[in-house]
Amino acid sequence: MASPSSDNSTPKGEPWVWFTSVGLLIGLSMVAGLLGLVLINGFSVFWAPPVPTVKFKDGSEIVGQFVQRRVRPNSPASDPQYERQYQIGLRELNSTSYVWVDELNIIEEKIVPETLGLERMENGPAFITPKTIVDAAGKPHAMDATAFAMIRAEVEHASEIRERVLDINQNKIGLVNAEMEETRISLRRAEDRQEPTVVLTDKLKTLDTKFAELKKEADEISKLTARAQLEGVDAKGRSVIIPFAGIVRAWEPNRMTTMDRIGLMFSRMHEFLFDAPREANTEGGLMPAIFGTLVMTVFMSLLVTPVGVIAAIYLKEYAKDGTVLRVVRICVNNLAGVPSIVFGVFGLGFFVYVLGGTIDQLFFSDQLKYNNNTPVFGTGGLLWCSLTLALMTLPVVIVATEEALSAVPRGMREASLAAGASKWQTIRDILLPASAPGILTGVILAMARGAGEVAPLMIVGVVKLAPTLPIDGLAPFLHLDRKFMHLGFHIYDLGFQSPDSDAARPMVFATTLLLIILVVCLNLGAITIRNRLRARFKGASF
């Protein structure tokens, strides 16, 4: 603004100007610090560093991946002592995957090139020195130059077979199960109404045999790799036998090149984005949560956009200006400031219990009666979550649309009317296209808010582990009544409800990273569109 005065005396109050800049500095460092923290911690989850062998004063050794260093709890703050955490894996032998060790006890950390890292289906990772590879035919191979390639091939083979078994278990058996459930309900109904049940019991029998056949098929397939296993020793010299069927991924942390590490990182990221979780959500992927979040957010924006736009057009173009309108506008604005949890309470009380309960009684009374009173819509689910969040983000869309409509120059409106267009034609052909970027900004902001919101969802239908996705191959394909997983809730649940918080930690950071990327991208998109819009209307006046 004003440049410093040109005479020699200093302008009054300059120190205070410097003082105010502290506010900005703190604010900026907070954002930068937080994003940096999440980025570093999030990405390091996928990174495979060298795995040292740690020697202690008492002669014992551990092999594990370094996790973090901290001040030992209860050590005096004036003379802090540190301890280090290692992920040693092999939970079936060590009883815990993570250990804290006192830094003073460590003699040295050495890098042993033979160390092999294994990511497994169960019991956490394993860090072993491999000795023998037993292939699928049961033939043992000693460790030589091609041993690692062989291990990888076996792992690959085992995971292919796992995929096939999973396909049978999830898709085919899932279909049979769903059909069985339906048949059982029909059977109960038929029994109750004293109708003939022969057809249904026969069908149930056929399904039972089908189920058994599929189960057998899955067993047969998994036998193909049952004999393949890896034998090695752990840090304490105990021999460890790990079947290849339980290995997800193998790597040589101390021999890899940087390119290998990057490759491994991408492979882990791929798993994270496209696979289902395992080990109580602490490992594996996040696909159901990502999918659930996306479906819910998109469904929510489909609900909120038309309603919000219509309400805004009404308020801006149709409603009579006056005290009533002012009050309504204030109320709509204030709705944006109402805590999200209140919307959750409303969603549970009204949508779930009142609306859902009524729907169940009107359309699903049979289901209720013959399925142990299991509610269909009378419990939390995708539809109610979307509706609740739509209501919550409604003011965002209304306000954005109203602003966009106000930004359309008066001249354009008048020109359209003067050219003989009707009010609706003006709205449709002039106002809406002109304000579309503004409306889009509002919708994107609403989506960003909806994607990151957790508190109301906890109440109206998000779960920590949903057995099925909200969209699948079973009619009617989009299951609005299903409970689903959500990234934000995943963070809460893993971070605070998980029994093994150490094991959950990497996954929480990775999830946090993903959620932040999603939300920040949505916001940046909205900001970009808005800036373009501003530039476009700067010169546009009649």
Binding site: L24, G27, M30, R70, V307, A311, G344, A451, I459, N523
Partner: protein, 780 residues
């Protein structure tokens, strides 16, 4: 031009100006649809508030009591009664011990059972004394257990079990068939005289039978225990204890109160004294004696009754007294904390002589009868659920049904008056949610939120006050941290920062606002809280050094010669300040341990050594608790949510101050700081206030951060180093577990309404302030 146009218009055909009908039709229809849609959205918004309020409305409604059909047992001397679980088939006992069952629906007689107990015939020297009937002298029923206890003239008791068999008639109508079985027969005391009163209660140690008899004009109470032990073979073995006297030292006995837990006995004397005998092994010894209406008053006790839970007794006097005494820990003269009886409530009463106190089952309500009126009252919050006229005939026994939906009064004339109760939330009242309440077992009245517990007899406590306190506390710490930063940043960005930087800073702040609160909460709980726990003093040092170091930098800069000052272009101060501040902060961080060891050294209780640890120092020197997840952490992290909102709104208000004012000020020779401080800030003050209010609204409703970054304990302490439980966190944690329609569920709705109202009011004020500001700028 105009003339030409009008001329050509005339020449054109009329149809040229006719709008096609479909266009008009679509236009009017779309107008209608948009109007309808818009209005329904507005209505829905208000409907939401209406719905929330409608959910809490039942909490504050009184009980609805409606008379049901009267059952006339036509026994002139009915003394006790009982009924089945659904209240379909009540029975009454007359003074002779005869039992009559009648249908509640139409009063028709179903069954009568005649008491006929005979002495065993004795054959002595060839002569047989014939069996003689023994008259019944005492009757007591335990309707909810289906028991009738009869005391006989020879000093023995008979316990009868009433059971109901459900049969279905051919037309599908449910019928009840009552049976009366003798369950226990035996003597309690050694005396052979008539039993005047008898009790049978089942405590955890076994069954306890009590009887009152008279010997030489004195009352004698005798007890006998029946202990049933399951042997290895699964067969129950019953051992009967020796009879033991109870309260042998009592004279002028008026009445005896026996709680159903059988662990103590209250003996009331004619003088108004209550003596408490506590059970240990097979003896009852005097624990305490008190006069409920005050030690000075020799007021007789007209009626008394244990409240459900058996730790409180309501005493009713003859002169409008009604007090509640309860067992709770009290400090004795020797400093010990012992559970003793003490007065916890002094209730308003009905006028007139007390006629009875009858407890409900399953909750803390009771029926109080006095002066011809009856009241259903809640013992805990002293609210009167209902009041009505009592039957004219003397009341013998009142029993509430198990699920508190019915109560019936048996009068001496054999009439059973029955009422239905509709009272879904007897424990709810205004004072339950917002007042101090003396709960059973508590040492003093307090504000408590405790909605669930493992025990069945647990009384849920729903005071919202600790939650509101927690909300205000969290908000306070959040605002304490966020407002200075946000406002300083807003002032700097709006009037000192180079304008081209604004386009970077504002989106950054918007991104900060959009960070999901679950992410903030997770980082607060799992990353920041452990860090603050181990490095509290260094962190506080860094925070403390920031402002002085910036002022110092500004001061030093202003003293520098002008050519040097010129180098720092206006609007670049923050960039030059940054390294300096970082340096100062690093220094402060390093100073932390030194400060901690200088000022906060305490003796470690465990090792006895001197250690310097602020956490221990805080615990020892203030006596307050120190939690890792404390208010400071919450305040700091909530800053992420509050700062961007306050910043954006305040910045808007500050940069919208008309340029003419600023130019005027500068032209008159004011420096840029003087202009901002004396012209811009006062002009935009209402906008700044509105920014603070909206920040307040955001902090009040923040849920996930508080859930994850505090311990969620509902304590009322201003201590910055412990946590809190806020309204919003409470809802998030408890609503998934609350059953729809229960008091707990509605209490959480009440919390949501409080939040809604609070934020709505604050935001409305903020909005009005902002509009006023806008109008002011318009005029300029």
């Amino acid at each position: 031009m105009e003339e030409n146009q009008s001329k050509s218009t005339e020449q054109l055909s009329e149809s040229r100006f006719q709008v096609s009908r479909s266009t008009l039709l679509i236009d009017s229809w779309m107008g209608r649809i948009i109007r309808l849609g818009g209005i329904s959205v507005v209505v829905a918004v208000f409907g939401m508030l209406g719905f929330l309020v409608s959910q809490i409305f039942p909490l504050f409604s009184k009980a609805k009591v409606e008379p049901l059909t009267l059952v006339d047992f036509t026994q002139a001397s009915s003394v006790a009664w009982g009924e089945d679980e659904y209240g379909e088939l009540p029975f009454s006992c007359d003074t002779k011990g005869n039992i009559t069952f009648r249908k509640a629906k139409d009063g028709s007689l179903v069954k009568t059972w005649t008491a006929d107990f005979k002495t065993t015939p004795i054959t002595l020297e060839g002569q047989t004394t014939p069996a003689v009937s023994i008259p019944v002298t005492a009757i007591k029923t335990y309707p909810r257990d289906g028991l009738v206890l009869l005391g006989l003239a020879d000093g023995s008791v008979r316990e009868l079990k009433i059971s109901y068999k459900i049969t279905f008639a051919k037309n599908g109508i449910r019928e009840l068939e009552p049976t009366v079985d003798l369950q226990y027969a035996g003597k309690i005391g050694e005396l052979n005289g008539p039993i005047l009163e008898a009790w049978s209660v089942k405590g955890p140690e076994g069954k306890l039978y009590l009887s009152r008899q008279q010997k030489d004009g004195h009352d004698v109470i005798t007890g006998r225990r029946l202990v049933e032990r399951k042997g290895l073979s699964g067969k129950a073995k019953v051992t009967v204890s020796e009879p033991f006297p109870i309260a042998a030292d009592v004279t002028d006995l008026e009445r005896v109160l026996v709680p159903s837990t059988a662990d103590s006995i209250l003996v009331i004397r004619k003088t108004g004294e209550v003596r408490v005998y506590d059970n240990s092994e097979n003896t009852f010894s005097l624990m305490q004696s008190f006069k409920p209406f005050g030690e000075a008053k020799n007021q007789t006790i007209a009626a008394a009754g244990f409240i459900f839970g058996n730790v409180s007794v309501v005493f009713q006097g003859n002169q409008n007294e009604e007090v509640v005494w309860s067992l709770y820990p009290q400090k004795q003269a020797d400093g010990q904390l012992l559970r003793r009886w003490g007065k916890i409530h002094d209730c308003e009463t009905l006028a007139g002589v007390g006629q009875g106190i009858f407890p409900a089952a399953g909750n803390k309500c009771y029926l109080s009868v006095a002066g011809g009126r009856m009241q259903i009252r809640n013992m805990t919050n002293e609210s009167i659920r209902w009041e009505g006229a009592a039957p004219a005939s003397p009341i013998q026994q009142v029993v509430f049904s198990r699920n508190y939906n019915r109560f019936s009064v048996l009068c001496e004339d054999g009439k059973l008056y029955r009422w239905s109760i509709t009272d879904h939330h007897p424990e709810a009242s205004w004072s339950t949610f917002f007042g101090k309440i003396w709960y059973e077992g508590a040492e003093a009245p307090d504000y408590t939120w405790q909605s669930s517990s493992g025990s069945d007899e647990f009384e849920a406590k729903y005071s919202l006050v600790p939650l509101i306190y927690g909300t205000v506390k969290g908000t306070f710490y959040a605002l304490l941290f966020a407002i200075p930063i946000a406002l300083l940043a807003a002032i700097y960005v709006s009037h000192f920062l180079r304008p081209e930087w604004k386009n970077v800073i504002k989106p950054l702040m918007e991104i900060m606002a959009s960070l999901p609160s679950v992410v903030l909460g997770f980082l607060a709980g799992l990353w920041l809280a452990p860090l603050v726990d181990t490095h509290l003093i260094p962190i506080l040092c860094v925070i403390a050094i920031l402002a002085p170091s910036a002022l110092l930098a500004g001061y030093v800069w202003s003293k520098l010669p002008q050519p040097v000052r010129r180098r720092v272009g206006a609007g670049w101060e923050f960039a030059y300040l940054f390294p300096f501040i970082v340096l100062c902060a690093y220094g402060a961080w390093q100073m932390g341990p030194l400060i901690e060891s200088t000022f906060f050294t305490v003796k470690d209780l465990a090792s006895g050594q001197n250690i310097s640890d602020f956490r221990e120092w805080w615990r020892q020197s203030t006596g307050l608790s120190y939690d890792a997840r404390n208010s400071l952490v919450v305040g700091f992290v909530m800053g992420f949510a509050v700062i961007p909102i306050v910043f954006t709104i305040a910045e808007d208000a500050l940069s919208n101050v008309p340029n003419s004012l600023i130019s005027g000020s500068l032209a008159l020779g004011a420096s840029r700081w003087q202009t901002v401080w004396t012209v811009v800030v006062p002009t935009a003050i209402s906008g700044i206030l509105s920014a603070i209010m909206i920040g307040f609204g955001r902090a009040v409703g923040e849920t996930m951060i508080v859930v994850m970054a505090t311990g969620n304990t509902a304590v009322m302490e201003a201590n910055p180093f412990n946590g809190m439980r806020t309204l919003s966190a409470n809802i998030a944690v408890e609503l998934p577990e609350a059953a729809a329609g229960e008091t707990h569920f509605r209490a959480l709705f009440l919390g949501a309404c409080c939040l809604f109202a609070l934020t709505f009011i604050v935001n409305t004020f903020a909005e009005i302030l902002r509009q006023r500001l806008r109008e002011r700028f318009k005029m300029n």
